[in-house]
Symmetry: C2
Subunit: 202 residues, 2 copies
DNA sequence: AGATTGACAGACCAACTGGTTTGTTATTAA
DNA sequence: TTAATAACAAACCAGTTGGTCTGTCAATCT
């Protein structure tokens, strides 16, 4: 009984998921190759199809077990602490901007990438992805609704619509940067986004 | 010499381009199958590879000869007539919204779709696509700069940044709707976009 | 009219790809 | 200890896919 067992099924499965997530981020789901995942993990077909019934099942697992928790941790949970939505959001985005390296700017948002590629192609993907967007939207909408109650957010606004627009704008900006690889595009548009968010304060 | 020649190379080539454009819109470039284009057009491999050197060459031609002219006609040329950028843009978007059917809402913006999928994968695609974005950006930026000169647009703004942000926001909104198929998402975010554009007037 | 060439048709191919099958070994329950 | 099973390894397979090759026929040029 060694410290690190030769056979560690949970770890094996997780390695497949992590590598697959990276591959999808780079090539998209359609560009994801099972063989490539095996090459990177050093596993074989037997191992893969022991853990996953199909490539589609892997895709589902990547969404449910990698992408979703990642979004919740990075973009949903933090919003629950917002008390002054506009100012807290600006501060939050500033910090996210600093943690962003040029490489990430090139690959874009994994959630949006999958959305654009897969939602028209596979309903089972679309529904899973939509549930993640909804989590984010709800958290952001709630933050602004709280702000309206405590007087930090203008009461003439619709928190629901604001959340929809903000998410769209943020993803739009990230999406633009996939093509213009420089960070200038990001910061120019980000400047306007900041102005807009500031205009929401009461 | 019949009225419609049996062999009409220009028409044949154009049919391939049109069908390929539709297929890319539905499945993406990676999901585009040469065989599917042949099936729809009723042509054969011989015909296809007579007109295009490769699948990649077809992709390039679709961008240069279908997508680019379409964007120029629909989203670049009209902006040149703007005299009061914010109000003209709102009116322009309202009209575009009315012409939009649910089907288009599901497929998204062809330019943005290709951007998200291909710009990290193929530099030759990225450069072609970037040149189209640039055309749109310049037209929009110029419209706002003109507005600043003639007093319809606030002078404290950066026309360049505004154009970047607006394009990002518009594409972001369209992108969100690919996942939430209903038009409600579109109109909620659109409402905020309208408010923002109005806030740019002098 | 005859030769040349452009515009296809369609059989063919090699590489790739997701998936299956059979076999082997480590782990675990009885 | 041993039987059962989970966790793989690896050869194999069939369908797909982009691309090639040879041939045919119509248009054009001389």
């Amino acid at each position: 009984m060694s410290a690190i067992a030769l056979r560690n099924p949970d770890l094996t499965r997780q390695r497949i998921l992590d590598v697959a997530f990276e591959e999808v981020l780079l090539k998209g789901y359609q560009g994801l190759r099972v063989d490539q995942v095996l090459k990177v993990t050093g596993l074989t077909k037997g191992a893969f199809y022991h853990h996953f019934a199909s490539k589609q099942a892997l895709g589902h697992a990547v969404i449910d077990e990698v992408l979703k928790p990642w979004i919740i941790e990075k973009w949903v949970e933090p919003l629950k602490d917002f008390t002054d939505a506009p100012n807290d959001l600006i501060q939050f985005l500033d910090q996210a901007r600093q943690e962003l390296d040029t490489n990430e700017l090139h690959t874009g948002c994994p959630l949006n990438n999958l959305t654009q590629e897969m939602s028209p192609l596979d309903e089972s993907f679309r529904l899973r992805i939509a549930s993640i967007w909804q989590l984010w939207h709800n958290a952001l909408s709630d933050a602004f609704a709280r702000g309206q109650k405590n007087g930090t957010v203008r009461k003439d606004l619709n928190a629901n619509s604001i959340a929809r627009f903000l998410i769209a704008a943020m993803e739009g900006i990230i999406g633009q940067c996939k093509c213009f690889k420089d960070e200038k595009t990001f910061d120019e548009a980000g400047e306007c986004l900041r102005d807009y968010i500031e205009s929401l304060s009461a």
